[in-house]
Amino acid sequence: MAEPILRIEDIHKAYGKTKVLRGVSFDVAPGEVVVIIGPSGTGKSTLLRCVNLLTVPDRGRVWLEGVELTDKAVDINKAREKIGMVFQEFNLFTHLTAVQNVMLALTKVKGMKTAEARARAERELEKVGLADKADLYPAELSGGQKQRVAIARALAMNPKVMLFDEPTSALDPELIGEVLEVMQALASQGMTMLVVSHELGFAREVADRIIFLEDGVIAEEGPPEQLFVNPRNPRTREFLYKLTELYGEHGEPKSRGRER
């Protein structure tokens, strides 16, 4: 494996008495797509937020391109520019139009001039197929469109790694496809991605590796073929079985014509 772009080392996080993460470690290679699955409340969101230190881990270290982000001396705001994040609830800034959402950090963080930022933002919106929605407010967009704006907003910062926290869970089934397509395209362009998702179709097709997180530890990890076909841990098999029952239709949307 090439030099990892992202290294997660022994992450622990507790909220009061609840130990959410109990020692999670893994590396991500440049261009790799890692999908994290696991039962609700098992710490998937917490883990993603520990990567860009929106949540500070109690113990453990995070490295991005050989720089330790958990080091107190590191300017975490600077580091976060390199880590894009997409949320389940989109979290678009409601007082700004789509293009202004994408521009804001370009002007306020990267210090770009307005005209330059606007041009850049329009290009990013075009890439996610929303060039014609640039001047609409979030309330005027569908869920799928909102999430694509959120992806464009993160990509505009030129991140090295993208984090996705259940990006399609808040979407109506018929809108999931358009977001997954954007993510798939991004993966094929070589973006390093860490994705929490229960879209099994996406995981099977796009992931290089799947991590099954349970009770705050990695219960199993491996390439999708291994986890789907021949999981070593019986819990993995059980969870995937339940998931297929629950989300089967979403995981493999008929519209995208995938074989079972």
Binding site: N77, E81, F93, H95, K108, V109, A139, A154
Partner: protein, 211 residues
């Protein structure tokens, strides 16, 4: 009608006291609200205590208290006007801090997380993401607060500031026609409040967040 003409010039002082008190309450109330939501435990406690204590005191008590404090310390030359603004402003600070705190909290944590994930520092996120939305959400409640401060400004007449209400008393004493004088001043307050609310309604429609 003559009465209105005699009393009306004092509206200048009423408006001055109201606007300055509201402005003071806006700035300090906003700071307190940010401290309440994003501050550490000490700051949160201090801000919450201020709001709790001040909201438990009658405004008239604050008016007298600040008047004597200003007199005794000769703060700002012991000016009545300054003491009036400080008293109403201190009260409005507490109420506005509650208004803005509610607005900020109703945004949820996602907005701050998204802003920070893009590399914004906390102050930059507050200025560009949180506060612009919170202010818009707060307009209806703030409009109510503005009307209350406008009417409460009559309380500062108690320490001898010659604003609308005190002026009405003077006119009444001169004409011996108390009913007319107070009807006139009531009409003036009504018009001012009405205009304030209509103005802020317009601002709200103009800047309403589409949710």
């Amino acid at each position: 009608m003559r009465c209105v003409v005699y009393i009306l010039p004092a509206a200048k002082l009423t408006l001055l006291v109201t606007v300055m008190s509201l402005a003071m309450g806006f700035v300090l109330g906003m700071l307190l609200a940010v401290a309440r939501v994003y501050g550490g435990p000490v700051l949160r406690f201090a801000a919450a205590s201020y709001s709790r204590v001040v909201r438990s005191l009658p405004t008239l008590v604050m008016v007298f208290a600040l008047y004597y404090v200003v007199l005794m310390t000769d703060f700002l030359g012991g000016s009545r006007l300054a003491s009036a603004v400080l008293a109403l402003g201190a009260c409005s600070t507490a109420y506005q801090s509650e208004i803005f705190r509610g607005a900020i909290q109703s945004l949820g944590s996602g907005q701050m997380l998204a802003a920070r994930s893009l590399g914004m520092s906390r102050p930059v996120a507050l200025r560009n993401v949180i506060l612009p939305q919170a202010v818009r959400l707060a307009i209806p409640a703030w409009s109510n607060e503005a009307a209350i401060v406008l009417k409460d400004s009559s309380l500062v007449s108690a320490v001898g500031t010659v604003e609308l209400f005190r002026r009405a008393e003077h006119v009444a004493a001169a004409t011996h026609d108390w009913l007319t004088a107070f009807l006139a001043v009531g009409l003036i307050y009504f018009c001012l409040t009405f205009l304030t609310n209509r103005g802020l309604d317009w601002v709200e429609r103009r800047y309403r967040l589409k949710v």
